[in-house]
Symmetry: C2
Subunit: 206 residues, 2 copies
C-alpha cells in the first residue's frame, strides 16, 4: 500500500498518546495499522525514530504558530517589548490548540517534555524556540537577572508540560478541563510569577 507510512504514523501517534511510549509495542502498532512488522523499520529505522517522525510532523506547525504570534505581539508593542502576558500566550496557546484537536498527541508531547528518556528529540525540536523566548522575556523583564530568568523559563516548561499531560492530582476538578481554558489560567498564573521580583531585587513593572 502507498499509505503504509502514514498509517503507521497515525496509529502510533494515537497509541503512544493513549498508552505511553514504552508501554506501546511495535507489534501492537503494526497489528492495529494492519501492516507488517518490518514496515516500521523500513520506513523509520527504529521505534525511537518513529517517535521522532511523529513529533516532527506536529512540532513544525506549533513552532510556526508560536513564532508568528510572538512576531505580532512584538510588532504591535514596538518599540517597547510586549508584556509577559502576551509572550506567554504566544507560547502556550498554540499548544492548547493542538491539544484540543488531538488529545492523544497532546499527552505524548507533554510526556516527552518530562520523560527523561528522549532528551535528544525534545532538544532538537524545542531548543531554538526556547532561546528566542528567553530573549523575549529578557526584554520584557530587564531587571530580572539572567540566571533567575532561565530558571523561571524552566519552571514554566514544567507547569506547561504537566498541564498538558492531565495527571492524577486533579481528579477533583470536575469542570472546564478544555485546554484553552487551562492555558488561560496558566497564563495568569505564570505572568504573576515571572513578574515577581527576584529575591533582594527591585520590583519590575511590565
Amino acid at each position: 500500500m502507498i499509505d503504509t507510512r502514514r498509517r503507521i504514523l497515525d496509529t502510533a501517534e494515537r497509541l503512544f498518546g493513549e498508552q505511553g511510549y514504552s508501554t506501546t509495542s511495535l507489534r501492537q502498532i503494526i497489528t492495529t495499522a494492519e501492516v507488517n512488522v518490518a514496515a516500521v523499520h523500513y520506513h523509520f529505522g527504529s521505534k525511537e525514530d518513529l517517535l521522532d517522525a511523529i513529533v516532527l510532523r506536529k512540532a513544525g506547525p506549533v513552532t510556526a504558530a508560536r513564532l508568528d504570534l510572538l512576531d505580532r505581539a512584538e510588532a504591535a508593542a514596538a518599540p517597547d517589548p510586549p508584556c509577559v502576558d502576551l509572550i506567554l500566550e504566544s507560547f502556550l496557546l498554540p499548544t492548547a490548540d493542538v491539544a484540543q484537536n488531538n488529545p492523544a498527541f497532546a499527552l505524548l508531547m507533554g510526556r516527552m517534555l518530562t520523560e527523561g528518556m528522549m532528551p535528544r528529540i525534545v532538544e532538537k525540536h524545542f531548543q531554538e524556540t526556547a532561546k528566542r523566548y528567553v530573549e523575549a522575556f529578557a526584554r520584557a523583564l530587564p531587571n530580572l537577572p539572567r540566571e533567575e530568568l532561565l530558571w523561571r523559563f524552566h519552571f514554566m516548561i514544567g507547569a506547561m508540560a504537566h498541564t498538558i499531560c492531565g495527571s492524577p492530582t486533579l481528579r477533583q476538578i470536575d469542570s472546564n478541563c478544555d485546554f484553552p481554558t487551562r492555558m488561560r489560567r496558566l497564563v495568569t498564573f505564570l505572568a504573576a510569577a515571572f513578574r515577581a521580583p527576584a529575591e533582594n531585587q527591585p520590583c519590575d513593572v511590565r
Copy 2:
C-alpha cells in the same frame, strides 16, 4: 543471604534514578546486586512492585517532614493561616533535602510524578498530602475560587517535578544548581503566582 532484599532495593533505586525505569532491566539490577533473577520476583512480585517498594521507603520521611513543617507554620501563625510562602516552603524544602542527599532518587521521583505510566503509585503516596495542602492554600487565599486553586496546585506540581528532574532546557544555566537554591527560586516564583488574582477577581493579600 538475609540482606538480599535490601541490596536489590538499593541497587534498583540507584539504577532507576540514573537510567530511568523502563531503560533499566531487572537483569542489570540483579547482576549489579549479585543476586538471582528470581529473587526480585520472590521479594517484590514484579518490576513495578519493586519500584513501589523503593518509593515507599523514601516517601514516608518526605511526607512526614512536609506535614511537620506545615504544622509548625500553622501553629506559629495561629489563629491566622500561614502565608503562601511558608506553605510552599514546607512542601518544597523536604523534597530538596532528599534530592540533595540522593540525586539519583530525586530523578526517579521527579520522573514518577510526570511519567504517566505509574499513576497508581503516585496517587497512593501523594494524594492524601495533596488534600491537606489544598486546604492550607485555601485558607491562605480565601478569595481564590476553589477550582482556580486546584489548577494552581496542579501547575505547582508540574513546576516542582520538572525542577527536580533537571532537564534539557537549562543547559545554559551554569552555576547554583544545588537543589535548595533551586527550590528557593521556585518558592519566590510560585508564591507570586498563587497570589495572583483570578481573572476578573479581586486581589488577595496574604
